[in-house]
């Protein structure tokens, strides 16, 4: 197992804030919009340097998506910012018609996704957003795994032409990816090469997959770990190549097992290479209030859950 270490913990939303600032410096067409959550979305640096390119829309997410769609018509590249729930479910038809169907260059940037939003509870903890967004034709869906990757992804989507959903989170987590990485949309990142099982992880679950990989190594299981940061378009090639070698797969995501990354992988495998698969995901449930760590544990999203899923799926492979 390749050794991953970290010297600091940061929130992925701060990576977004830093990336937005960089993208703003690079391209004067980059504009930002926010619905009364500037601090939570870490937009302060962008607003400070480019006040005229920032629009505060107030608590009015539907209006924000519509305005963003309209701004693309004047050649702007709008980044909208609010919590993941209010970025997706709240404004689904506005995104569907004015952004996705109309193919507008809007970057929907969504913080506080998943259970790790914590104490605010289920009203705010969306676990269905990946599904909602990946179902929209033409929508790119990205869920980066740490501060550096989120920053790089934010800069990359500014250069990509077309609608994007960028999902990130609230808590501080280890920073373990390369600060100077080049982010390629749709290209998987090989975290660790192995032979016994393919672990495919996205977002906050990537670090947990690394922790699980270390435990598995102690148990004599050689896990291949792949980071799928772009859930759509999916890197079919990387997944098929790995699964051909390992013969079984565990998908890991901070999302409902219905509609998430796991189902995208299952769809690929069932048509191309039927393979035993286990899902580390929430099980058709809403969340609740609690600390992020408590919730990840209660809802089965810890390294131990990945280890268990791996043991189970390897058993199915042999059977």
């Amino acid at each position: 197992m390749k050794k991953y270490t970290y010297t600091e913990k940061k929130d992925t939303r701060s990576g977004f804030g830093a990336g937005l600032h960089e993208a703003g410096k690079k391209n004067e067409n980059v504009v930002a919009l926010c619905a009364d959550l500037v601090g939570s979305l870490k937009m302060d640096a962008f607003i400070k340097d480019f006040p005229e390119r920032f629009t505060q829309v107030g608590i009015a997410e539907a209006n924000m998506i519509g305005i963003a769609a309209g701004m693309t018509i004047g050649g702007k590249i709008p980044f909208t910012g609010t919590f993941a729930n209010f970025s997706t479910g709240r404004v689904y038809d506005q995104i569907r018609q004015s952004v996705a169907y109309s193919n507008k260059n809007v970057k929907i940037c969504a913080s506080h996704a998943g259970l790790t939003l914590g104490e605010d509870g289920a009203t705010h903890q969306i676990l269905e957003d990946i599904g909602l967004m990946k179902m929209l034709p033409g929508m790119v869906v990205i869920n980066p795994c740490d501060y550096n990757q989120t920053k790089a992804a934010t800069m990359a989507i500014a250069e990509y032409e077309g609608p994007v959903y960028l999902r990130f989170g609230r808590p501080v987590i280890p920073v373990f990816t390369d600060p100077d990485q080049k982010f390629e949309i749709g290209k998987a990142w090989m975290v660790n090469e192995g032979t016994d099982v393919t672990i495919i992880a996205t977002g906050h679950m990537v670090w947990k997959a690394i922790e699980a990989g270390e435990k598995l190594a102690e148990l004599g299981i050689d896990a291949e770990i792949i980071n799928i940061h772009t859930i759509k378009p999916l890197d079919d090639e990387a997944i098929l190549k790995s699964v051909k070698k390992t013969g079984c797969v565990v998908t890991c995501e901070e999302h409902n097992k219905f509609g998430g990354l796991g189902e995208s992988v299952a769809r690929l495998l069932t048509t191309e290479l039927p393979t035993p698969q286990e899902f580390v995901a929430t099980n058709d449930t809403f969340g609740e209030s609690g600390t992020p760590d408590q919730l990840m544990s209660k809802y089965g999203l810890d390294a131990v859950n990945i280890v268990e899923a791996v043991q189970k799926v390897i058993g199915r492979k042999k059977a």
Binding site: C34, D36, L37, V38, G39, S40, Q56, V57, G58, I59, A60, A62, N63, N85, F86, R90, G118, E119, D120, G121, A122, T123, H124, F286, E288, S289, G290, T291, Q294, L295, K298
Partner: protein, 281 residues
């Protein structure tokens, strides 16, 4: 009056203590507007609302209350506990794992007193209208109360509801606006100004009254007066001016306390200003 003004003020003081202790206890949550609305909740539940504490979802023959700005759950939970819906010891579980007292109100955990989830802003007025329509169909002439945040009014759904209610003569509805002039990113006047809310609601066909939401006498009288205005073809809007953080000097009037928990020192300072009247949980 069921209580004297002094008695009501004492209840509000205890609710304020609970709010700061609850938010401090989990180091998260929304003290500012919870404190600002403590007088309103006290007046409503201890004086105005015709309600039973052996809770039923339908609340047949009872007045119903809906909280649209669900983030001010601490004030509601404390009020419900002191009114007798559940034991006040449960307030200690606020926002903690396996609690019925979720960060935002929910029916999912079956907490008595809650009839719909809120937290995602801008949805409560529609729900209140729906409940009012159902009561009408059932021949039940009780009142429906709702509370909305002022920043929350930036959500367009409120204005769909605002248009619907007068047109459909939903006239047993009393909606109050927590008019504290603050939201997360700053004063409402700087984020997206609401301007003349009275004129706006009147133009939509509402009967608008103004109350001082941090004056117990005024808020009790205002809500009683609002009740006398119902049944006359128009919904009632109570524009209730409040101070964010009312009762805790260092929190008063600042959006900074919208969603920030006090530290130990700040807690002590807040509690020193708020007499313990009914016993802490």
């Amino acid at each position: 009056m069921k209580h004297t003004i002094k008695e009501l003020e004492d209840i509000a003081s205890q609710i304020r203590r609970d709010i700061v202790r609850m938010v401090h206890g989990c180091q998260s949550g929304h003290p500012g507007a919870s404190l600002g609305c403590a007088d309103f909740f006290t007046a409503l539940y201890f004086e105005v609302l015709n309600h039973k504490t052996d809770f039923t979802m339908e609340g047949k023959g009872e007045d119903l209350f809906f909280l649209s700005n669900g983030h001010i759950s601490p004030v509601w939970y404390s009020t419900l506990a002191h009114a007798g819906y559940f034991d006040k010891s449960e307030l200690a579980t606020f926002r903690k794992l396996d609690s019925r007292l979720q960060g935002h109100p929910t029916t999912h955990e079956h907490l008595p007193g809650i009839r719909i989830a809120s937290g995602s802003l801008g949805q409560g007025l529609s729900v209140a209208i729906g409940a009012a329509l159902a009561k009408k169909l059932n021949g039940d002439h009780s009142h429906i109360f709702a509370l909305l945040g002022d920043g929350e009014l930036q959500e367009g759904q409120n204005w769909e509801a605002a248009m619907f209610a007068p047109f459909n003569k939903v006239d047993h509805l009393i909606a109050s606006v927590d008019y504290n002039g603050q939201q997360i990113d700053g004063p409402t006047s700087k984020v997206l100004a609401l301007d003349d809310l009275q004129a706006k609601f009147e133009a939509f066909g509402w009967h608008v009254i103004n109350t001082d939401g941090n004056d117990m006498q005024a808020i009790v009288e205002g809500l009683h007066y609002a009740k006398t205005l119902t049944g006359k073809g128009k919904p009632i809007l109570n524009l209730m001016s409040t101070q964010m953080g009312a009762g805790v000097d260092y929190m008063v009037g600042s959006h900074k306390w919208h969603g920030t928990a006090p530290n130990d020192e700040q807690l002590a300072s807040a509690l020193a200003q708020l007499p313990e009247t009914l016993g802490d949980y």
